[in-house]
């Protein structure tokens, strides 16, 4: 079993066919608030666990680095995250960029979804827009998506 075998196995899983690509021009990066959205099924201990087909999101606080990874798919290597959360959730890297004024600010809150979904319509119509609104309410300007 090689990584390429699993990629080949999953490459043809149908995604959402967007009729148009939403393209937004951002503020200059050094003025922008940046948030991470990951599909690694991260959450804080004590948060509601992701269920098998959970389309919802969990809020991740920048100030707490106690994230746990509770993805339902076995088809990825989890040890990178175990060693260094930034392998999946580059929160420290973003803060370093903010300290150097390369980005304006790191959002206080970020989102995690669970990447093991087959029915994407509920995310497209419900939890995706809900998560986007949450981030807009946090005055986020730029979102970095890290997929797992």
């Amino acid at each position: 079993m090689a990584d390429s075998d699993i990629k080949a196995m999953t490459a043809q899983i149908p995604g959402v066919d967007f009729k148009e690509t939403s393209f937004t021009r951002p503020l200059p990066l050094n003025e922008a608030t940046v948030a991470i959205v990951t599909s690694a099924a991260l959450h804080h201990p004590g948060d509601e666990e992701f269920t098998m087909l959970d389309i919802g999101y969990r809020v991740l606080e920048s100030s707490r680095h106690d994230y746990v990874l509770r993805h339902w798919s076995p088809n990825f290597d989890p040890t990178g995250f175990a060693l260094d959360i930034n392998t999946v959730f580059p929160i420290d890297r973003l803060q370093e960029l903010a300290d150097k004024k390369i980005i304006g600010k790191v959002s206080d809150q970020h989102l995690s979804y669970a990447g093991n979904q087959f029915d994407l319509s509920a995310i497209q119509l419900d939890s995706g827009p809900s998560g986007a609104q949450f981030l807009k309410d946090q005055d986020v300007d730029v979102v970095l998506l890290t997929p797992v």
Binding site: I6, M52, L83, R93, L135, L145
Partner: protein, 214 residues
């Protein structure tokens, strides 16, 4: 909001056609590439943020690949046999406990146990899978939850313990291969999975107990 997506499966990026995407040929589970390498991660982020200058939707390819040949197995010692009266897998689990606890102390329970099986119930979970390998129908073996989720907890225990036992940070997938091929518990899991498949259990029940098609 402007969005930038990282991705390691090119076909999915092309099919989804996001506003800005950086295709990185990195192992699944490592979207920023290398753990414990801030300089590497910063270079990836720099390339990602450069996409904000694009005038139209774009997919760029990052210029560094991290390949996985599928053969490399983590060099990780296993505890010597201690109690000959115990099933080898249970003896091994007990022998790894100190390493697991040290790893959780050091890294937190990031990928370890607790999805379905708590640490105190680990041996019971493995015993249930042993029963399956011995011919007990899987529904009667006492597996304490969805088999794939139980398997993830067992794999999480082993891959967490391995972080403390191996000399170097594991390359992607090498710990998984070590668990499945070199450990007694991994062999039990593989055998139980095969037994469930052979018994005609619905595919999702057994297929996701391990990665890929193995």
């Amino acid at each position: 909001m402007a969005t930038i997506t990282l991705g390691s499966i090119k076909e999915q990026l092309e099919a989804t056609a996001p506003p800005r995407a950086l295709y990185c040929d990195f192992p699944l589970g490592r979207p920023l590439g290398e753990p414990l390498d801030p300089e590497f991660q910063h270079r990836v982020l720099e390339s990602a943020f450069q996409l904000l200058e694009a005038e139209e939707p774009t997919i760029k390819e990052y210029d560094v690949s991290i390949p996985d040949n599928g053969d490399e197995i983590l060099a990780c010692p296993l505890p010597p046999r201690h109690d000959p009266d115990l099933h080898p897998a249970l003896d091994e689990v007990r022998g790894l406990r100190p390493a697991y606890e040290r790893a959780v102390e050091k890294y937190g329970n990031r990928i370890g146990m607790g999805r379905t099986v708590q640490l105190k119930d680990l041996e019971e979970a493995i015993t249930a899978l042993i029963r399956v390998t011995e011919g007990v129908p899987w529904k009667e073996a006492g597996i304490p939850g969805v088999p794939s989720r139980v398997s993830q907890d067992i794999r999480g225990y082993y891959e967490t313990a391995a972080l403390e036992l191996s000399e170097n940070a594991p390359k992607a997938w090498t710990g998984t291969r070590w668990f499945l091929k070199n450990t007694e518990a991994g062999k039990v899991l593989m055998s139980a999975r095969q037994a469930m498949a052979d018994s005609g259990a619905n595919q999702p029940i057994w297929f996701y107990m391990t990665p890929g098609d193995d």
